[in-house]
């Protein structure tokens, strides 16, 4: 549904040319929720603005629903933009219009009759749970309500694609959850393709099917979300997933950690369980099988897309050979093992 091919974008600054995006290739399937995560300054905002050409890339192709937007004249581009909804971090609602008229705005722009607008807006108010706020002005609404208005407005012209620019970054955790639920709901009910950018792995974890990691203008890693959590490849990806799973070595242990094995040192390992493996008592069975005792330092269990993903950091104590055997055994059970280091 969305296809970016070899997108490059650079800005001229006083310090010279600055490359915001470097050779981005991206493919978002129909009805998929695709998330792009990156730190601030990674180029996320520029990337999502390239999809509806609020920013024009210097080179590459932007194909939405089979149409290369860069080939279009300004009128044809405006036409295509009616099929691409967008919501923003700061909502960008018109203060001069109430909820009803904010949602009606995109319909007014394409010159639709008042009776159809009334019908359509009422349906959207219903969908987003805003019927009671129909006549309120934006300054009378909470952040979450404002974003609901923005979503309703973006959906008014029945777009095929919804772009979300840090849509929950200005909201508290509880409101974030309700907005994400709403996005998930419209994705399912309307078969809407959603491309979102965020700096919160939580958002990716909760609603995305696939995700890409943007770092210094480059898309360095891309995978289905479960895969990304289970087997992150890049350092950036590991940092993001660990913070999202709230798993981290205690500081006291981290300071004692040595990178090479030696006499009298025990390995610290991180085990990542996926799906069925997470429900097996693997750790417990190590003692009976190999006479290796496990001292669990950290453990966490998360549900992602109806799959369980578990992570455990533990210290293994036993005879040297037995430890190697037990690690092999764990791997054989389809569990990721990463040796983080050694302590005495």
């Amino acid at each position: 549904m969305i296809e970016l091919q070899g997108i490059n974008k650079s800005y001229h600054t006083k310090q010279g040319a600055f490359d915001a995006l470097k050779n981005i290739n991206l493919n978002v399937a129909k009805a998929e929720i695709y998330g792009i995560i990156g730190r601030s300054g990674a180029g996320k905002s520029t990337l999502i603005r390239c999809v509806n050409l609020l920013e024009r890339p210097n080179s590459g192709k932007v194909i939405v629903d089979g149409v290369d937007l860069l080939e279009l004249n300004s009128e044809a581009l405006r036409e295509q933009r009616h099929a691409i909804g967008m919501i923003f971090q700061h909502f960008n609602l018109l203060q001069s219009r109430n909820v009803y008229h904010n949602i009606a705005l995109p319909l007014e722009l394409i010159g639709i009759g008042k009776t159809y607008i009334a019908k359509r807006v009422d349906a959207l108010l219903d969908l987003t749970g805003l019927s009671a706020h129909r006549n309120h002005y934006p300054n009378q609404l909470s952040g979450g309500q404002k974003q609901r208005v923005a979503i309703a407005r973006a959906l008014a012209t029945s777009p095929k694609v919804l772009l979300c620019d840090e849509a929950t970054s200005a909201l508290d955790p509880e409101t974030t959850q309700s907005i994400l639920d709403l996005l998930k709901q419209i994705n399912r009910e309307l078969n809407l393709t959603i491309l979102l950018i965020t700096h919160e792995m939580d958002v990716i974890k909760r609603i995305c099917d696939r995700a890409g990691i943007l770092n210094q203008g480059e898309l360095i890693e891309e995978a289905p979300v479960l895969e990304l959590f289970a087997r992150p490849k890049s350092k950036v990806a590991k940092n993001f997933t660990q913070s999202a799973l709230h798993i981290r070595l205690p500081d006291s242990l981290e300071q004692r950690l040595q990178s090479e094995p030696a006499e009298g040192l025990h390995p610290i390992v991180k085990l990542t369980f996926l799906g069925a493996a997470a429900e097996e008592p693997i750790v417990g069975s190590l003692y009976t099988r190999f006479n290796v005792s496990t001292n669990i330092l950290q453990a966490n269990l998360e549900m992602i897309h109806n799959s369980t993903i578990g992570m455990t950091i533990c210290e293994l104590q036993g005879k040297p050979g037995a430890i190697e055997h037990s690690i092999e055994y764990i791997r054989a059970q389809n569990v990721e093992v990463e040796v983080l280091g050694y302590v005495d």
Partner: protein, 486 residues
Amino acid sequence: MLTDMNLDLYQALWQTIYMVFIASFLSIILGLGLGVILYITRPGKMLANSTINKALGAIVNITRSIPYIILMISIIPLTRLLVGSSIGTNAAIVPLTLAAIPFFARVAETALLEVDPGLIEAAQAMGATPWQIVSKVLIPEALSSLISGATLTIISLISYSAMAGAVGGGGLGDLAIRYGYQRFDVWVMLETVIILVVLVQMVQMLGDYSSKFRSLKGFAWLSGLLWLGCIINIAISLLGAPKQETLKVGIMSGVQEQIMQVAQQVAAKQYNLNLQLVTFDDYILPNTALNSGSIDANIFQTVPYLNAQVAERGYNITWIAKTFVYPMGLFSKKYSSLASLPYGAIVAIPNDPSNEGRALLLLQTAGLIKVNPKVGLLGTPEDVTSNPKNLQFKALDVASISRALPDVDLAAITNDFVAPSGLSLTQALYKEGPDAPYGNIIVVRTQDKNNPLFQKLIMVMHSPQVLQATEKVYPNGAAIPAWSAS
């Protein structure tokens, strides 16, 4: 007299409202358009175009830095092209509008810059055209600031409209200047100032209310009413248009108006002639207006002044009759005779070339100084060849000399300002005799020299009623008929 005054006041109030309303209406609409163009052509905005932006910005800045009175006079040809005349209330609207457009354009540009750029981005993402962004996002979002700016513009226009008197535009400010400043009538000045204050207050209150509630209803109702008022006014003036022949006569504002009102009555009753009086506050415009055909005659100047103006500006105008001599006098609050004037005495003289030369000639006749005979009637203190008492000349605006009288040793006061400032020519230490070359004259365009209509005007001006009225306003020999001498 009181009802006359009230009528004047109503008329002036309407003139002010009419001028300010039309000028506000046009300048707010055109200024908004210009402001929008300035905004959207800024770098980084929708239709960024630095050439257009810089060019328009320069025009706006230049127009805004020209002093209003200079703008008003320098655009006279444009005014004439647009409204057919360079004088009158309609003519005053042109410079008012032209001065207010760039002012409101900047106000509007600033208001638009306050609109969150995110809203424009959102509208662009929805596929809005630039025009839709302007009309559905920018202007509605900036409405509060735009209304406040428009209120500011209207109030500035009310204060600028006071200067409309310079082109015969009338209005409250003109009334205050004419009666209050030039005729020393404090009550009229107070009345007009109070009405102006109330007017400004009302506009401000309406503006504040509309800005707070982002509502144009109040202004829409008001402008609807005022349009209706304009239409009714035009209808009345068309229906009541006199069938008589009409002459537009330019005169100085001030006491001359009282005499000319008598002349008006005489002309209407005895000669079936409608005299339309156009008042001026300065000595340049009455001739410019006559030469260009905006008025048909003027009565305010002397032969030397006319000759100097014709020589200087190439006017095709000429004089057909004399009216009155208004002798200039030398006055003092400190000394009772010229002989007692001390060495180095300060002498106030008018600062316009004609009256300045006249004052110096009077001082010469009085035996105080000698002026180089080569400069004729337009001498300046530089041309004084002998000054035994070492008199110090201070050139002041004609209207302010009588006010400065207590502060100087001797003052040459033009006749117009003698009576209004509570003086009498009998108190003058010295005054011009009947042989002075300074009789007032009736001036017309050269081609009208033999037009019988103007013969009627001469008869009116020489009628016993006008003579009587003149002697009433200028008692104690302050005005001497000059036509018997010529």
